[in-house]
Symmetry: C2
Subunit: 222 residues, 2 copies
């Protein structure tokens, strides 16, 4: 059997990070919850352990660390912090992720108008991350259009994930992580194309407000 | 019965423009095909008449004009020219569309890398159009993610259309035009949000190359 890579979820105390962590633990991946504040990481792990216990899922490979230790320890690092913390968090972990894949889940929402697309001057948060980290880190953008509620609830996920990054092997690795969560992942081109998924989040927020729902997208005609 | 607005399809000699024109004529809308070159517009109309005759569809309300006359004559003006012609075409028709809705179908693809998102500095082609035309014209962005082949062939259109613009009434009018083509249209926020649909086109091109298909998107969970 193939050994599963260990995953650090940086910002794993938030709704989306915790939701992804849950799905990956259920799929048998070793997961580290990272936070700037180790105590918050520990509290998030305890919440996850309760949910997993209720579902009768083993959770031997769930641990908490601060962000730097988590980034250092994991094979693949997943960034799920708010846009305003992206740059600072990357600066903190930069020296600890050389040679690794960074899965950037950042959506560049600018409050209060989160339903209006406001992409950064760099084109997208994904491009900003790749430019900041340099070629030693393979940035792959994904999971911008998934409802955190549905990840956490174990709800059937009726949406696809666009996976963008400059390295095909890294994209393929992240498509596997998407599939482990119970969704289809599509290799959607270079990191520049993260703009599409990041912009779509504001569109989905706009649709959610109209229909009181958790909208997603599907790729059709494939 | 509600009177249907007349539609000028500027750039209606191309695949996407002709495809939309076909669907709208079949739905009973009066359509004007516009081109810089009146002869090309006439030739496109003749091609459309052949297709419609084969399908047994009446086409009394299909006419050809040059772009300026078409923009002047129609209630709603639809722009389906390549990105490199957007600005020049808008400059030509600007004085003739005051008070009207302009449906901008422009996708800012930059050859040769059409599979890579390269949005303009203004944020999107839709925003560029609205900024250039000013508040006297209500720009609504739509139809960026529809396969021209499927529009023309009468194929079932398994995709949704994101409709973005600053004026809710204009967006609603364009949602009707989407529905007349046999698709669902979603009001997807202000014109800034055109970036999402425009960026998605490069993503869909990337997916089409992988799977040799005509991919589209659907909104789920509504």
């Amino acid at each position: 059997m193939e050994t599963k890579p260990s995953l650090a979820v940086i910002g794993g105390t938030g709704d989306l990070g915790s939701g992804l962590a849950l799905r990956w633990i259920e799929a048998g991946y070793p997961v580290i919850i990272g936070s700037r504040d180790r105590e918050k990481a520990a509290a998030a792990c305890n919440r996850l352990r309760s949910v997993l216990a209720e579902r009768g899922v083993a959770h031997a490979h769930l641990t908490d660390m601060d962000n730097v230790a988590a980034a250092d320890a994991a094979d693949i690092v997943v960034l799920t912090v708010p846009f305003s913390h992206q740059q600072g968090t990357l600066a903190a972990v930069k020296e600890h992720i050389n040679g690794k894949i960074l899965v950037d889940v950042t959506v560049p929402l600018v409050p209060p108008k989160v339903g209006t697309v406001q992409l950064p001057a760099s084109g997208s948060a994904g491009q900003a991350a790749q430019a900041f980290l340099g070629d030693a880190v393979r940035v792959v953008s994904a999971f911008q259009n998934v409802a955190a509620d549905h990840l956490q609830s174990g709800h059937d996920l009726n949406c696809d994930v666009l996976v963008c990054g400059n390295d095909p092997e890294a994209r393929a690795a992240v498509v596997k992580l998407v599939e482990a969560c119970g969704m289809r992942g599509f290799q959607a081109g270079p990191i520049n194309n993260a703009a599409a998924a990041e912009a779509l989040t504001s569109v989905l927020i706009t649709i959610n407000r109209q229909f009181k729902c958790h909208a997603g997208i599907r790729i059709t005609g494939v």
